[in-house]
């Protein structure tokens, strides 16, 4: 029996080409769906029950006399916005004349003589009588997206990203002089700093995901971003390892810089968007806070290359890779903020940092091969504490 069955299988394989065997399950699925539709199975065609209206307000732009809302249809059904109410009064508006289809966006220009510093609640009345409400806690004119504004955002990004990281890298001469055992403590400190950043970015990502359109995955975006970043950076580091036979200090520093750069991209987005909606007051206190907070990131970049003698140009490049994305992030956040995109970027940054931690951890090993020995534990805790303390200065 066995022998005959094997012959039959062989015959089958000979007769059918390989690609067809690969497609077979898909064809069967298509056939099954076709049969289901032909028999008018339940759930085919019009959905039962009242329409589900889900609209997310993705962006609110304020200009004199007008509140402009960009909304996205998150739900399964098209939504018709019939009327608009601002602070319990019907008001005139343009836009969304046609029903908004699934995942489509519409821009509503609502006429409202709003007053700076006051709160506004906008309710959009749909064709079924449902309401979509959006709150503007403090009305502030949205800065126009002109050249000077982008210049300001660039300056902000440099303050928050580039300068602190560059300052932190000035610790390099000091790190070179300390004995190896203490260098491990410094490395543990940077791992602690990074761990804090990863946690902080993930939580901030979840918060943003809650605000954004849920149709794109909501909180899952943060985790997806993290996994994607982790895998990408792992791939890059393995590729570098193959070329250079072993993770050298320079490639490790490059990876750390890239990871921090991706994190600063997300941070830039948050800052840019907060500034553009008037939620961020720029002051010396905040700039100092960010400087202290992000200076520690510079330390993390130079710690792996303490025993090498990199050229100043290379150091500058590392600093730019780590810090400059904050500028790009600020531009994105200010000009085209999208909570879902920002959530993904925060997850992406967190994933990158986790990958950096994985890369750094072997450097913590002491002579007996332990990663977590009393000194490194002390360093890790000190890193977390330092980030927590400086983070208190910059709660946006």
């Amino acid at each position: 029996m066995e022998g005959r069955a094997a012959t039959a299988d062989e015959l089958h394989e000979r007769r059918l080409p390989g690609w067809l065997l690969g497609l077979l399950p898909l064809l069967l699925i298509a056939l099954a769906i076709g049969t289901f539709v032909a028999l008018d199975g339940p759930g085919i065609g019009e959905r039962r029950g009242p329409p589900a209206e889900e609209i997310a307000v993705e962006r609110a732009k304020l200009e004199p006399g007008v509140i402009e809302l960009t909304v996205r249809n998150d739900g399964p059904d098209a939504v018709s916005i019939a009327q608009a109410v601002v602070n319990d009064a019907f008001t005139q508006f343009s836009g969304a004349e046609q029903p908004i289809g699934r995942l489509e966006t519409a821009t509503l220009r609502i006429e409202q003589p709003w007053i700076e510093g006051e709160a506004y609640e906008i309710a959009l009345l749909t064709s079924t009588g449902g309401t979509i409400t959006h709150e503007i806690p403090v009305a502030v004119a949205t800065p126009p997206n002109d050249l000077s504004f982008f210049g300001l955002m660039a300056l902000l990004g440099i303050y928050v990203g580039v300068i602190p990281v560059a300052l932190g890298m000035l610790w390099l001469p000091w790190i070179r002089r300390i004995p190896p055992a203490w260098l491990r403590v410094v490395l543990a400190l940077t791992v602690g700093l990074l761990a804090f950043l990863a946690i902080d970015a993930t939580l901030e990502g979840f918060e943003l995901a809650g605000e954004g359109s849920q149709a794109f995955g909501g909180a899952a975006l943060v985790l997806l971003g993290g996994v994607v970043a982790f895998l990408l950076l792992t791939g890059v580091s393995e590729w570098l390892r193959e070329r250079q036979s072993g993770a050298s200090g320079t490639s490790l520093a490059m990876l750390v810089a890239t990871g921090i750069g991706l994190h600063n991209l997300g941070e830039g987005v948050a800052i840019g968007s907060a500034y553009s909606v008037g939620a961020l007051a720029l002051g010396a206190f905040l700039v100092v806070g960010f400087a202290l907070h992000n200076t520690t990131e510079g330390l993390a970049i130079v710690a792996p290359i303490a025993n090498l003698k990199p050229r100043p140009a290379r150091l500058a490049l590392l600093g730019l890779i780590a810090g400059a994305p904050a500028v790009l992030g600020a531009w994105i956040g200010a000009a085209a903020f999208n909570a879902s995109l920002a959530a993904f970027l925060f997850g992406f940054g967190a994933g990158a940092i986790v990958q950096v931690i994985v890369q750094l951890s072997p450097s913590l090993r002491d002579d007996t091969g332990r990663v977590l020995h009393p000194r490194t534990v002390g360093g890790l805790l000190a890193g977390l504490t330092l980030m927590f303390a400086t983070g208190l200065l910059v709660s946006v």
Partner: protein
């Protein structure tokens, strides 16, 4: 584009309406036909005259609704009368409860619960001392009653568990009692959950004229109501006679120096109070209309749910005068209108 004022807008729409009448073969036109043309104009001009208004200054499709707030204003249902053996007048009406889709704001449709396919239900009008008989048929999918305010026997009170109790879908009953006392009353459904049964539209005005009548006047009925369209037990829309901004869109025309009498009934659910305020004038106010002596001469009265009263005044000046709830929130959510005094 030159600003199109309300006055010019109305003049324009009036001319259009007149032209339309020339072509009409049926000697009967509905007010909503005029309104539709006014709406086109308002939209073209993009004018809300600086007041809160629906998008583009539009209004609802009154023809599809089957009733217009302008028709309801002066629509008194006297029923049919016969003489009893004793010589008394027997006045009869037929009311049925039925669900009906209503366009409550332009582009916003809700399922209303109605008496005789309109919200508010018919304004039932009779004379003090008559015998009243109301045949009620429940043609809806939910149990309902008609609970009248006034003086009547317990079994005619239209509440569950007393007399005929609640009338199940497909069932009927007859409410019969004497028209007492003279005044302005109301009727509404009294089935649990009460707030829902009232808020969805099961109510109407009930007028008992005094045996010796009232002074001749241009009489109007305003049932102040609101609608909770998203089921959060708060109203999204406010109005007199159901359609928000209807009397802004097309003012109520009255004559200068002629007595105006408003039968004002508040049925507003969910909000604690409602009010009526008149611009450029004061009115004599007769709470519940049970006395012929006014309680005050004022321009603002406040009413809780179920409260009602009669307001009387004359306009000494021609022109356009606003009336609205003096809760600004209700005003700008629809409960405002104009009198056009000519």
């Amino acid at each position: 584009m030159a600003e199109l004022t309300r006055r010019r807008l109305l003049a324009g729409s009036g001319a259009l309406a007149g032209a339309g009448l020339l072509h009409q073969t049926i000697p009967h036109s509905h007010p909503w036909e005029h309104e539709a043309k006014a709406a086109e104009h308002a939209h073209a001009g993009g004018s809300d005259g600086g007041h809160a208004a629906f998008r583009g200054g539009e209004t609802v499709d009154h023809a599809a609704n089957g009733f217009s707030p302008h028709e309801l204003l002066r629509d008194f249902d006297w029923g049919t009368t016969t003489r009893l053996a004793s010589g008394r007048v027997l006045r009869e009406w037929e009311l049925h409860a039925v669900e009906k889709e209503i366009e409550i704001a332009p582009g916003v449709k809700i399922e209303g619960w109605t008496y005789n396919q309109r919200i508010p239900g018919p304004t039932l009008r009779c004379r003090e001392g008559e015998r009243l008989r109301i045949a009620f048929r429940n043609a809806s999918h939910h149990p309902h009653t008609i609970h009248f305010h006034g003086i009547h026997p317990a079994e005619m009170d239209g509440v569950p568990g007393v007399g005929a109790g609640q009338i199940e879908p497909g069932q009927s009953t007859v409410y019969e009692f004497d028209a007492l006392p003279a005044g302005l009353h109301l009727y509404h459904c009294h089935v649990r959950p009460l707030a829902e049964h009232i808020a969805k539209g099961l109510y109407g005005a009930f007028i008992v004229d005094p045996a010796d009548g009232r002074e001749d006047a241009d009489e109007l009925v305003m049932v102040m109501n609101g609608f909770d369209t998203n089921f959060d037990r708060a109203n999204e829309l406010y109005a007199a006679n159901t359609i928000p901004f209807a009397y802004m869109h097309e003012p109520i025309t009255v004559k200068r120096d002629e007595l105006v009498r408003i039968y004002l009934v508040n049925v507003l659910e969910y909000d604690l109070i409602n009010s009526f305020h008149l611009h450029g004038n004061l009115f004599h106010y007769f709470p519940t209309g049970t006395s012929k002596t006014p309680s005050e001469f004022t321009d603002t009265v406040m009413l809780c749910q179920g409260q009602r009263g009669i307001a009387e005044w004359k306009f000494p000046y021609a022109g356009r005068f606003m009336f609205h709830a003096h809760q600004s929130e209700f005003t700008e959510l629809g409960w405002q209108g104009f009198f056009e005094v000519t």
